[in-house]
């Protein structure tokens, strides 16, 4: 019995140590601006996506607004509410939870600390029985992105550049959040090519579907082999496999959340980016200027919350005529002439 206890004790201690010891602490900033605490989603800094976006926004706020920002990276499965509570009780003016996973915790902690402002990135508001979203507590702002609008534009680019009547989509977990990407993408394809079809596939039905690159690669290979030339992925690190398939077949893929050009240079047509950095920076600025107000805030093309990447690296993949047409679609969406479905 004793050796067993010793072994388990050692393993648990090692595991806990690995969770808590971090090679580099995200630097605390000291300025005279608002005190801000940010609790990251699983993965933490260096995820090349969401958390890094939040971090960039906070860094900019520290530089430009003198914000005093601190970060917590909860380990896998550890208590997220605790991270929020630590910051709230330490007298932060604004506490940000990054990722839809914080939704319930944010509502609870925001009620407990009515004097602190809270923001939830990708917050998923609760809905009542008839489907209307319930308003969050008054000191909590729910920052949601209209991913379907950005997806619409990359769908149009894919159809205009692809040179095939078949377009591909690879989703991560088969859930409504990802269906928004698919719906927008489909609508974008249809807007510029009414007789094109979209082959949409999902990597699975569990959260594991967001980190299964081998599966993403096989899905993408079979799509490319069936005549698809461009695939848009919304599947976390499963999408890394989609880029591998694009390289192997010399085809094109479209990234998501952040600019993913670097994952497969020359094979990434563009990326549908969610400007988490803009959202974080803006909410910090509102706190500094005393203009913070709770509620649900939806960020789309109009607010600069979503966009597609068009820069020096991928400009040669997108001809000027395509660029012009897509920009016209953007104006149509911003002006409300084009309605983008979200499912």
């Amino acid at each position: 019995m004793r050796p067993l206890l010793v072994t388990i004790g050692l393993l648990v201690a090692l595991f806990v140590a690995l969770l808590f010891v971090r090679p580099r602490q995200a630097a605390a900033r000291h300025g005279d601006g608002p005190r801000v605490g940010i609790v990251f989603d699983v993965g933490g800094r260096g995820d090349k996506s969401f958390n890094d976006g939040a971090w960039r926004g906070a860094e900019r706020a520290a530089r430009k607004l003198g914000a005093n920002v601190r970060f917590i990276e909860p380990g896998d499965g550890s208590d997220r509410a605790a991270g929020l509570r630590i910051f709230a009780s330490e007298g932060m003016q604004l506490v940000v939870g990054v990722g839809f996973i914080f939704t319930d915790d944010l509502i609870d902690v925001a009620r407990e600390y009515p004097k602190v402002d809270f923001a939830g990135i990708d917050f998923a508001p609760k809905v009542d029985k008839s489907g209307h979203p319930l308003p969050p507590p008054p000191n909590l702002v729910a920052l949601k992105f209209r991913e379907q609008e950005g997806s619409f534009l990359v769908g149009a680019i894919a159809a205009l550049v692809g040179g095939s009547k078949k377009l591909g989509f690879v989703g991560g977990m088969d859930v409504p959040l990802i269906h928004k990407f698919e719906a927008g993408y489909r609508a974008g394809v249809r807007a510029v090519c009414p007789d094109c079809t979209v082959l949409a596939q999902y990597a699975g039905v569990t959260p594991e579907a967001f980190r299964n690159p081998e599966r993403g690669k096989e899905l993408a290979l079979s799509q490319y082999q069936s005549g698809v030339n461009v695939i848009f992925h919304a599947s976390g690190s499963t999408g890394l496999g989609v880029f591998e398939a694009a390289r192997a077949m010399d085809k094109l893929a479209i990234g998501v959340d952040a600019d993913q050009y670097g994952e497969a240079p020359g094979h990434v047509l563009t990326s549908m980016v969610k400007r988490v950095d803009v959202a974080v920076f803006d909410v910090i600025r509102e706190v500094k200027e005393g203009k913070f107000h709770g509620g649900i805030e939806s960020l789309g093309l109009k607010e600069g919350g979503v966009d597609y990447v068009y820069d020096r690296e991928n400009a040669r993949l997108i001809p000027p005529a395509v660029r012009a047409r897509v920009e016209a679609l953007r104006q149509g969406i911003i002006a409300g002439r084009i309605q983008v479905p979200d499912q």
Binding site: P3, L4, V6, T7, I8, L11, V12, L14, F15, L18, L19, V21, R22, P23, R24, G43, G44, R45, G46, D47, K48, S49, N51, G75, D76, D174, L199, A200, Q201, Y202, G204, V205, T206, E208, R211, N212, P213, E214, R215, K217, E218, L219, L221, S222, Q225, S226, S237, L240, G241, E244, A245, R247, A248, M249
Partner: protein, 290 residues
């Protein structure tokens, strides 16, 4: 999309299952539960990416991957054989350790929480050529026949089976049960590590938790194959074929993807419940030895 492409896809999906199952079946037959294949595989994938990146050599990367699997297997063997820790509890701890440790060292080595930089790999053409030129695919196809030979045609195999079925009797005729189990677990670590190498080289990088339960599917194949290497191999191919089918049926909404994801586990339960034919695990599986 031709038949050749389909077969190639089945083999690609099956390769990590085959490699891990070939190691796991030996460990299980020696009496040690192979819940740890998942962790060994993840460790192997990470050290393979690390080795390939820093040594600029595929061969060294493959060796590093095997070493990564061996390292975790050594910890597992030390705890569950030498110290007689509960194999299931210890197995879960090893798998959690693999997730935490790879993430931790990923951060140290590459300052990323999600993936390593790009590394070299084998020929990645998605057709037959890519398969034929990938030595790990060959290793996967040969692994279970080799495991069968090892179990049934060698003295070591006889000792493995004796240790798993009746360790007291084995010991009474001078079989060093603990040492036999140690070698069996190390062997499973090396092969599961190799399965991880395959994943990392095929993706040209390591990404956080990239094994995505493939180790558990390999274990399911071992059980569904009634702890017989060749049958376990067929089970691996069956599970891979089901996945391939699901990929091609998706969108036609003939089969809900949930059902296909259930297949390996559902079949395992059916096999264990003895619906078709009673399958019996090695008699001393999971029992701590004196």
């Amino acid at each position: 999309m031709s038949v050749v492409d389909l077969v190639a896809q089945v083999v690609r999906i099956a390769t990590p299952y085959l490699l891990a199952a070939a190691g796991g079946v030996i460990a299980e037959r020696s009496g040690v539960i192979s819940l740890t294949l998942e962790g060994f595989m993840l460790g192997g994938a990470f050290t393979a990416a690390l080795g390939t990146y820093f040594f600029h050599s595929l061969a060294l990367g493959v060796l590093c991957g095997i070493a990564g699997g061996l390292l975790l297997a050594g910890i597992h063997a030390g705890a569950s054989i030498r110290l007689r820790a509960d194999q299931v509890v210890n197995g879960i701890a090893i798998n959690l350790l693999a997730v935490g440790a790879t993430r931790y060292f990923l951060r140290i080595a590459f300052d990323s929480a999600s993936n390593s930089p790009r590394i070299a790999g084998f020929n990645e053409s998605p057709g037959l050529v890519g398969l034929v030129e990938n030595p790990l695919v060959w290793a996967g196809l040969l692994a279970l026949p080799v495991a069968w030979l090892m179990l049934n045609r060698t003295a070591f195999g006889l000792r493995v089976r004796a240790s798993g079925e009746h360790p007291e009797a084995a010991r009474s005729v001078g079989v060093p049960v603990g040492r036999v189990q140690l070698w069996a677990v190390l062997w499973s670590g090396a092969l599961a590590g190799l399965a991880g190498v395959y994943l990392a080289l095929d993706q040209h990088q390591f990404s956080d938790q990239m094994t995505a339960s493939r180790g558990y599917i390999a274990l399911a194949a071992i059980i569904f194959g009634a702890w017989e290497p060749l049958r376990a191999g067929l089970a691996c191919l069956l599970f891979a074929a089901a996945e391939t089918l699901e990929i091609h049926l998706q969108g036609t909404s003939l089969v809900p993807p949930q059902v296909v994801e259930m297949i390996p586990y559902a079949l395992t339960i059916i096999a264990l419940a003895g619906v078709v034919r009673r399958v019996a695990p090695p008699a001393a599986l999971g029992r701590a030895q004196e």
